[in-house]
């Protein structure tokens, strides 16, 4: 399922939809802003970037508000926009050498003091996973989304969600020395 978007240039409910859409968006913002920032944090690794990504996502959805006709689907749409924003950030980091020595706080050595060594070990292992595997684990084990919801957010099939999570867990178990 994806959020229903009316044809470009033709709002679904000409005068009503934008107002209702803004109200829905406002309510979503109130309820999910913190959670979305925390989700982005798990993927990009630092709070400032996570806040930027979520802000950009709300801005992007707001821009298209007059094309959103199914307001019940707005949350998955925003989640997907946040995850896409995280992907863009990670790609730019790969390309920009300034991050060669950059340790995002969540998985830095300093985080051990804040979260404890066990948590840091998990984040260090997570960091070595391909970004899509990391996304899938965050969506499953932080947001508690099911296969269908993860598929919707990541833009992949249900089967791919299951295999991605499975491979990610297996890889993580190896890295954490917890193979059965």
């Amino acid at each position: 399922m994806e959020i229903e978007i009316a044809s470009f240039g033709r709002p679904a409910r000409a005068d009503v939809a934008p107002v209702m859409g803004v109200e829905t968006l406002t309510a979503l913002f109130r309820e999910h802003h913190l959670g979305l920032v925390r989700t982005a944090l798990m993927i990009v690794g630092d709070r400032a970037t996570a806040e930027d990504v979520v802000q950009d996502a709300f801005v992007a959805v707001h821009r298209r508000i007059d094309r959103v006709s199914d307001h019940d689907r707005m949350l998955p749409y925003i989640r997907a926009t946040v995850v896409n924003g995280c992907r863009t950030v990670l790609r730019k980091r790969r390309l920009a050498l300034r991050h060669r020595t950059h340790e995002p706080p969540v998985w830095s050595a300093e985080s051990a003091a804040l979260l404890g060594e066990d948590r840091r070990e998990v984040f260090v292992a997570l960091r070595t996973l391909p970004h899509r595997q990391r996304e899938a684990l965050v969506l499953r084990y932080y947001l508690d989304l099911d296969d269908a919801e993860i598929a919707e957010v990541m833009g992949i099939s249900h089967g791919t969600v299951r295999s991605t999570v499975s491979r990610a867990l297996a890889s993580l178990e190896r890295k954490l020395g917890e193979e059965a």
Binding site: A50, R94, L95, L97, R98, L114, P130, G155, L169, L176
Partner: protein, 369 residues
């Protein structure tokens, strides 16, 4: 629930709790045609900030480039912006809007252009059109063959993962699947496809044809490699049998040298018409040894990777992201897309074609000439 799953949940929960309110207040621009500021829900800190109408009238043309430098350069190019393809002139003014919605454009012969259209989630079809010398274009006609399944938004951040070979008989798409890097070559006459793939924990992007059969791309087979050894330009012989991407040979390993530093990164490159050199965008790091994040384009030998001439500095912000670098037929003019903004280098001189985008809608997604 396994021990690993438990540890994951606990780690996520604890890390999440490090983020506590207050968060940065959110500001979003309201509808573009309404030139005033409206606070929407102050209590929720959702403040609507309006862009001035005047700022939106001109979607942004930079000062004209010196006409003498433009001599011999293509008069028109095809751009993608906000999902729309159009023909623009040398100063970025729209000449013709191409019907349909597209995500990427590529050309091999500078006359026949190919457009990629995401017809549904992650499903792409390709179209061909011909650009005339007077800036007019033919109606897009569909390239034969079944739609191509990629990731949703595959070209949004990777427009140059799509490339056409010089004679226009082949299209290439490079992309990263769940675990495999893939290069897909499509015959534009028959629609036949050939895919090369290899397991990877790294990244693949930026396709460019060295000639009608050799496809080059940026590839980091191992995610750790990028931090240790920089970028690898790989070259795949698409006429050879087999489907293992690892048969691609390394054309250039490690950073291209600019000045004293050998610690630079390449984001985009293109092969020059002389067949012997390639021109690459090279970005220096910001470091304690004088690296300032500046970007250049430099022409280097295809064989040795050594510079064959001077480097032109791109007057962009430090650590700008160059998504597109396209040479013209003469090899003296280059079209670039930097942070969503069109730029060009004519006979070694850099200039912006368009002004800095003010919103996502103003950002160019791709361009070719």
């Amino acid at each position: 629930m396994t021990r690993t799953e438990d540890r994951l949940r606990e780690a996520f929960t604890d890390a999440a709790e490090t983020v506590t309110p207050p968060l940065t207040p959110l500001t979003v621009p309201i509808a573009r045609r309404r030139p005033w500021f409206i606070p929407l829900v102050a209590a929720a800190a959702l403040t609507l900030v309006l862009l001035g109408a005047a700022a939106l009238v001109d979607r942004g043309h930079a000062p004209e480039t010196d006409p003498a430098l433009l001599a011999g350069a293509p008069s028109y190019f095809v751009t993608i912006r906000d999902g729309k393809a159009q023909v623009e002139n040398h100063s970025g003014r729209a000449i013709t809007l191409i019907p349909g919605r597209y995500q990427a454009v590529a050309t091999g012969d500078h006359r026949t252009f190919f457009l990629a259209s995401e017809t549904s989630k992650g499903v792409y079809t390709f179209y061909r059109l011909v650009l005339s010398l007077d800036g007019t274009v033919t109606q897009p006609t569909r390239v034969p063959g079944a739609p191509l399944q990629l990731e949703e938004g595959a070209f949004e951040t990777e427009p140059q993962s799509f490339a056409a070979n010089p004679d226009g008989t082949k299209l290439a798409v490079v992309h990263l699947g769940d675990t495999n890097a893939e290069a897909i070559v499509i015959n534009t006459r028959t629609g036949a496809r050939h895919t090369w793939s290899a397991p990877t924990s790294g990244w693949i992007r930026m396709a460019a044809w060295a000639d009608d059969r050799s496809l080059a791309f940026l590839w980091w087979p191992d995610s750790q490699v990028v931090t240790d050894k920089g970028t690898e330009i790989a070259l795949l012989d698409t006429s050879a049998p087999g489907s293992d991407l690892r048969t691609a040979r390394t054309l250039r390993k490690g950073p291209l040298a600019i000045g004293r530093t050998n610690d630079s990164e390449t984001n985009a490159f293109t092969f020059n018409p002389d067949g012997r050199t390639l021109t690459a965008e090279v970005q220096r790091p910001i470091d304690s040894e004088g690296g300032d994040g500046s970007s250049y384009i430099a022409t280097v030998s295809k064989l040795t990777g050594r510079p064959t001439g001077g480097a032109a500095r791109l007057h962009a912000e430090p650590h700008s992201l160059c998504d597109v670098l396209e040479a013209d037929e003469s090899g003296e003019h280059f079209l670039l897309l930097i942070d969503g903004r069109l730029a060009r280098v004519d006979k070694g001189e850099f200039s912006w074609v368009t002004k800095a985008p003010r919103s996502e809608h103003d950002e160019y997604q791709d361009a070719a000439w």
